[in-house]
């Protein structure tokens, strides 16, 4: 159900080029086109819709139907800048119209007040670049509410005593509880904790053009065929298209942002499907390409005026201060079938440990625990069985048959501390299929992040005990080498020497260049970033609209 769109010429100077159509890009496209601006969205992936999504695990997981492809866009990894990077798959992100919001789990936690002011509250942390945000929870609250209502979030206001203040309830009730959620809720209450229905960007009630969730069980990693999952495609881009002012241009891989002699952007250069290059002209460029591709694009756009990469003259921190979110997974086995493969992933969670007392526990951070099951059959056979299960033979087969319907996970989601050495940068040797420098991930968890993951995981194991699990086990907690949450690499701030964008999401160095996605983050939150990416995008749209209307951007 594609909607008729305008077709702009590349030589037409449109008001905005938006690079990336994911959680942030989709919302900016909707807001700016609704506000009367002419918008072109350049998306490197294809324009797939509900008709293209499938429950075929092989296509989705193996062929990377919805995600970046490791062969076309290879990556490298190293732990520290002193190491030589090795080629390995280092990250995954959505590469289709709608971006990662097409295939995500759809946990939609707001940040709490503490996430914005943590540096003031806990002080400096050795080995970390912890600073306050230049905005506060109160600045974002109206935009979180906009996400709830315009994008579509199911939940129960007031159910968690730890929730930050909110101006409106959720627009629809929570999704049904799963067996994992009931087990989790009962055990957590036994321990004196405060479980609550998970806020999810999945519809519990139908909306125009979108069905309520049918509990098909193919949620995480898959696109939703009935529009129940609130991707930016179904919830924002379709609205943008209906304005008649927004063109979504898929298969358009931007490799350079061009600037003029005055150091202003004039548009974005991209490869089309056949690898021909074009330059889409625009009065302003907004990069929403995610926390890895946004800094990569700025670094690839280096020129004489910006030798260290575009918008990187003042601070030099483009790509740095990367945060991936720390975490841990424990699993429990129960007597009766949960059948938790049915339905969406998460129905209950708790935030009792959102803000730990560093003096008491001996490290910085906090997080949340959720109850879930999100494995496909082959994946479960590989990774879902107790660690002492034989890996083949009759006992393996028996355990597999017994456990698939009786297993659940308790997932800990947690903070990461920003460190300057943790980054996305350009690999000096490896190139992608278009001849562009490959992404290089440099990452070593701050020791506190690992201590926190272990601490939270101990709570998860306590919970599984209280739940009467007949068996429980955990994946090893190790330093991360794979990036999913891509946060902090072009951080927001008031000081051009230490940050890349200001509170309007405008780069300090280039007047008509804006960045909005996970790269804008200053702290990592507690492991569920998309809600905040979308709230930031709604807010950025208001700020950019005001600047454009006052003539502050053009000319």
């Amino acid at each position: 159900m594609k909607v008729e769109q305008p077709k702009y010429k590349t030589s037409d100077e449109v008001d905005f080029v938006i690079i990336g159509s994911g959680a942030a890009g989709g919302i900016l496209a909707k807001e700016l086109s609704t506000n009367g601006f002419r918008v072109v969205v350049l998306e490197q992936g294809p324009y797939l819709t509900e008709a293209d999504y499938t429950h075929n695990e092989i296509k989705v997981l193996g062929e990377d139907l919805l995600t970046n492809h490791p062969k076309l866009q290879p990556t490298t990894f190293r732990k520290t800048p002193q190491d030589k990077a090795k080629e390995q798959r280092a990250l995954v992100y959505g590469r289709t119209v709608g971006g990662t919001s097409v295939h995500f789990t759809a946990n939609f936690w707001r940040f709490h007040e503490i996430d914005f002011i943590e540096r003031s509250k806990v002080g400096a942390i050795p080995g970390a670049n912890l600073v306050d945000w230049p905005i506060r929870y109160a600045d974002l609250e109206p935009y979180y509410t906009k996400v709830d209502w315009e994008i579509g979030v199911s939940g129960l206001a007031g159910a968690s005593p730890f929730d930050p203040p909110r101006s409106k309830p959720y627009p629809m009730p929570p999704l049904p509880v799963k067996s994992s959620g009931v087990i989790f809720e009962r055990a957590a209450r036994k321990l004196g904790w405060h479980p609550f229905p998970a806020p999810m960007a999945i519809l519990s009630q139908p909306r125009p053009g979108r069905s309520a969730c049918m509990n098909c069980g193919f949620c995480l990693s898959f696109g939703c065929e009935v529009g129940a999952k609130s991707s930016s495609l179904v919830a924002a881009i379709r609205v943008a298209e209906r304005t008649g002012r927004c063109e979504i241009r898929p298969d358009s891989y931007v490799h350079r942002i061009e600037t003029d002699a005055r150091g202003r952007t004039i548009g974005a250069a991209y490869f089309d499907k056949d690898k021909n290059t074009h330059l889409q002209k625009a009065k302003a460029v907004i990069v929403c390409a995610n926390g890895a591709e946004t800094p990569r694009l700025l670094l690839m756009s280096a020129n004489k005026q910006f030798p260290n990469g575009l918008a990187n003259n003042s601070s030099g921190v483009v790509g740095k201060n990367l945060m991936l979110n720390s975490g841990a997974i424990s699993l429990g086995l129960f007597d009766h079938p949960l059948n938790d493969y049915k339905g969406f992933a998460v129905s209950r969670l708790l935030h009792d440990f959102y803000e730990l007392d560093a003096q008491k526990v001996g490290f910085y951070g906090g997080g949340g625990l959720d109850a879930r099951f999100d494995m496909t059959p082959i994946g479960f056979a590989m990774n879902g069985l107790p660690l002492d299960t034989p890996k083949w033979g009759s006992a393996f087969k028996r355990t597999l048959a017994e456990n698939f319907t009786r297993t659940m996970e308790v997932f800990s989601h947690a903070t990461s501390l920003a460190r300057e050495d943790n980054s996305f940068s350009l690999d000096p040797e490896l190139k992608d299929a278009w001849g562009l420098p490959a992404l290089r991930l440099t990452y070593k968890d701050h020791p506190d992040d690992l201590k926190l993951a272990k601490w939270l995981n101990d709570r998860a194991l306590e919970l599984l005990d209280a739940a009467g699990a007949k068996k429980k086990w955990s994946y090893p907690i190790v330093e991360q080498e794979f990036a999913v949450h891509l946060l902090g690499t072009c951080r927001m701030g008031t000081d051009p020497k230490t940050s890349v964008i200001n509170t309007d999401h405008r780069t300090h160095d280039v007047k008509n260049l804006f960045l909005c996605d996970g790269s804008s983050f200053v702290t990592s939150g507690r492991g569920q970033p998309t809600m905040t990416i979308e709230a930031l995008a709604f807010r950025a749209a208001d700020r950019i609209t005001a600047l454009a209307k006052s003539g502050e951007i053009g000319a």
Binding site: H55, K59, L61, P176, G181, N339, G379, K397
Partner: protein, 218 residues
């Protein structure tokens, strides 16, 4: 986001063996291999192998039948795993052809060394076969014998992953194992729309009740 899955991919690469990474790398071509396996088993005709010699096929069949045995429920044999692997080795796993041949050769060496007089793996008793596989499985506690090279350990791991994949591949998309025997075994219903209650523990859930009283914040 996809983090859970990918963390798992990552974890399996570093902590729990190479399996998930291998599946991920080779998954696309498994589609055709699975289709092939299904057709081969269902046709009942004499099957012409694309990679294996008849003698090799007997060995692979015997190996995969120990990884997922047929007992009171169907196993790798009933799911047509042998044909899935044969197809795999001329498509997505064609770079593993030599590894597979070497692995089979080394396997016979192990067999003859451990059980003099037993000519080949398929001729051994199931107890002997299991003992041989234990020596090949690097993840088992028993020490591996000296001459067993890394390549043969990888051979066994690749064979294990291929067997599990051929057995559990999604039958709903029409490409999967014969009769969906794998999904039946694990209790995964084939439907794609479900109503609560989903399982045992949520069937008597009385509905959300607020917590009686707020305890002290942590």
């Amino acid at each position: 986001m996809i983090n859970e899955l990918s963390r798992r991919r990552f974890l399996s690469q570093t902590g729990l063996g190479v399996s998930a990474a291998w599946v991920s790398a080779h998954w696309p071509e498994m589609v055709s291999a699975a289709t092939h396996a299904r057709q081969a088993v269902q046709s009942g005709a004499v099957y012409k192998f694309e990679f294996f010699t008849p003698a090799e096929a007997v060995e692979i069949d015997a190996l995969s039948a120990r990884i997922i045995p047929s007992d009171d429920t169907p196993g790798a044999r009933e799911a047509g795993v042998l044909y899935f692997i044969d197809r795999a080795l001329v498509t997505f796993a064609s770079s593993d052809q030599q590894k597979c041949r070497d692995g089979l050769t080394q396997l016979q060496t192990v067999v003859q060394e451990k059980f003099p007089g037993v000519e080949k793996f398929s001729a051994a008793t199931t107890e002997q076969q299991d003992e041989i596989l234990r020596t090949m499985d690097t993840n088992q506690k028993e020490p591996t014998i000296g001459r067993l090279q890394e390549s043969s350990q990888k051979f066994f791991e690749a064979l294990r992953v291929a067997t599990i994949s051929g057995f559990l591949i999604d039958p709903e998309v029409g490409l999967g194992n014969r009769g969906g025997v794998g999904w039946k075994l694990i209790g995964r219903e084939p439907a794609h729309s479900f109503e609560p209650p989903f399982g045992y523990y949520d069937q008597d859930y009385p509905g959300w009740q607020p917590a009686p009283k707020m305890a002290d914040k942590e």
